[in-house]
């Protein structure tokens, strides 16, 4: 059900919009952090990687601010129905986006640890995997802002591609480690990077479920036309 018009009490609209803007801002930061961490990884840019680690604090601050505003909004405005679902979704999404930021930080922290001149073939697959995962984060937060349940479903459907990437990178790295035992350290780090990206995709899927519920009042698993697993 769409929100037809604004609240009679205009300040209520402003509060909700501010909350949504915070989520968008967090999403932008998390997306940028993943992209930047991956760039540092590929280009071995240790200095910029430190910057990514440092900037994660911004996300922590924004998460706390989102929580503060959401609690305040519930206390002062007593939101109902779609408004209430929106606020609860914002509260949950902010926690998940903060977690995505942690994965970016974790990837960036591995940049200085991946030493050695040897070119590890699976590394070339990681940026594309990261691109799909961050694309999911980007699109799912757009879906939240637009209250677009269909867009949220489309995001979920892309998670399989990320999982497939993970499986093939996992196998490639395993083979690489067996054939080049001297690169096991590097390869293990790349395996963690792949795992982190796989988790980013999972989190985007979780957000998609929250967006779907906020927009429709129904859980995605119960949606009409969904075939039972």
């Amino acid at each position: 059900m769409q929100q037809t018009s604004g609240h009679t009490l205009k300040a209520f609209d402003e509060d909700i919009e501010r909350l949504r803007a915070l989520i968008s801002q967090m999403g932008g930061l998390a997306e940028h952090a993943i992209g930047e961490a991956m760039r540092c990884l590929v280009q071995r840019d240790v200095e910029a990687a430190e910057q990514v680690v440092a900037e994660d604090k911004k996300l922590d601050v924004l998460e706390i601010e989102t929580e503060r505003r959401a609690v305040q909004l519930i206390a002062l405005r007593a939101p109902m129905a779609a408004d209430l679902r929106d606020v609860v979704a914002a509260l949950k999404i902010s926690g998940v986006v903060e977690r995505i930021g942690d994965y970016a930080k974790n990837i960036a922290k591995r940049v200085p640890l991946i030493e050695g001149p040897a070119k590890i073939e699976p590394l070339s697959l990681l940026p594309e995997m990261a691109r799909i995962a961050t694309g999911m984060v980007h699109d799912v937060l757009d879906a939240f802002v637009e209250r677009d349940a269909d867009a949220a479903i489309r995001v979920c459907e892309r998670d399989q591609a990320v999982d497939d990437f993970y499986d093939s990178i996992f196998r490639a790295l395993l083979t690489h480690m067996m054939e080049n035992p001297q690169t096991i350290g590097q390869s293990a780090h790349l395996l963690f990077v792949a795992k982190n990206l796989e988790r980013v995709g999972d989190h985007a899927t979780n957000i998609a479920e929250m967006v779907y519920y906020a927009a429709t009042g129904q859980h995605m698993a119960d949606r009409p036309g969904k075939s039972a697993k």
Partner: protein, 276 residues
């Protein structure tokens, strides 16, 4: 052991709806196609609702939506308005209450009412409660009358506050106490249904909380229907909510669903504060 989702026991989503009647159970009151006219003006359009005992049904909606008009149909209070005309069928335990053979005095004993403004009689606290049972012949002796008064005041949560001054005037009590006295007065004739028309709108938050707690206590013993302008109150005290707008029943469903996921746009707009 690894957690397995299929073995997770979720709390029964119906537990809060423990009063859910089995399908096909006959409702305490049932309204079918009820319309009300004040002169030429139609105040209520073709409303059908079932009211079950063991649960509280709240009627919400903006002023003039017909919710109070509908409530007043349930014990024929609209009879007192000369220009009012009621069409449709309203049953209490399967008996048509709109029929001319219905004894209205008897009906109002079975379907009691509590009003917006506390309206105790200008008599003693005891007499306020004893009046109904006495005229309905429910008490054969002074002792039974005393017992009825005590039980009613206890059920209304007022006994401890007034037991030592039952002969004082009911109008000397505070607003919240007066309203509980009116509830005790309604209870005293052993009704089956209690109708409440904005029972807390003249009360402060503490008195309101006491009335809400009382509604919660009384649920199960009486079918309760309450009209309220306070949506939070409807959310707090009721298990079913009916939303009226412009004389129509727009939506009727579980309170938990109406306030988290209403089906109708008009309900959504109203409960989220979007009616300009």
């Amino acid at each position: 052991m690894t957690p397995n989702h299929s073995t997770v026991t979720l709390p029964d989503p119906k537990s809060e709806e423990a009063v859910e009647p089995p399908v096909g159970r006959i409702p305490k009151m049932s309204a079918r196609g009820v319309s009300v006219f004040y002169g030429d003006k139609q105040a209520l359009k073709d409303v059908s609702i079932d009211i079950h005992e063991d649960r509280v049904t709240a009627f919400i909606g903006p002023s003039g939506c017909g919710k109070s008009t509908f409530l007043r149909c349930l014990n024929r209070m609209n009879d007192t308005i000369p220009s009012a005309r009621v069409a449709g069928k309203i049953e209490l335990d399967g008996e048509d209450i709109t029929s001319s053979s219905m004894d209205v005095v008897q009906l109002r004993a079975r379907v009691g009412m509590v009003f917006q403004k506390p309206n105790p009689f200008p008599k003693s606290i005891f007499e306020n409660v004893a009046y109904g049972p006495r005229i309905h012949g429910l008490s054969s002796s002074r002792a039974t009358l005393d017992a009825i008064v005590e039980t009613s005041l206890k059920r209304a949560g007022l006994w401890d506050e007034v037991k030592d001054r039952l002969q004082e005037s009911g109008t000397a009590l505070s607003g919240g106490q007066q309203q509980r006295l009116c509830i005790a007065r309604a209870i005293a004739v052993d009704p089956e249904v209690i109708l409440m028309d904005e029972p807390c709108s003249a009360l402060d938050p503490i008195a309101t909380a006491k009335i809400e707690e009382l509604i919660h206590e009384l649920r199960g013993r009486y079918a309760i229907a309450i009209v309220t302008h306070n949506m939070q109150q409807a959310a707090r005290v009721s298990q079913r909510t009916a939303f009226f707008h412009l004389g129509e029943l727009v939506e009727y469903g579980k309170t938990s669903e109406i306030f988290t996921n209403p089906r109708e746009q008009r309900t959504q707009d109203y409960i989220t504060g979007r009616y300009g």
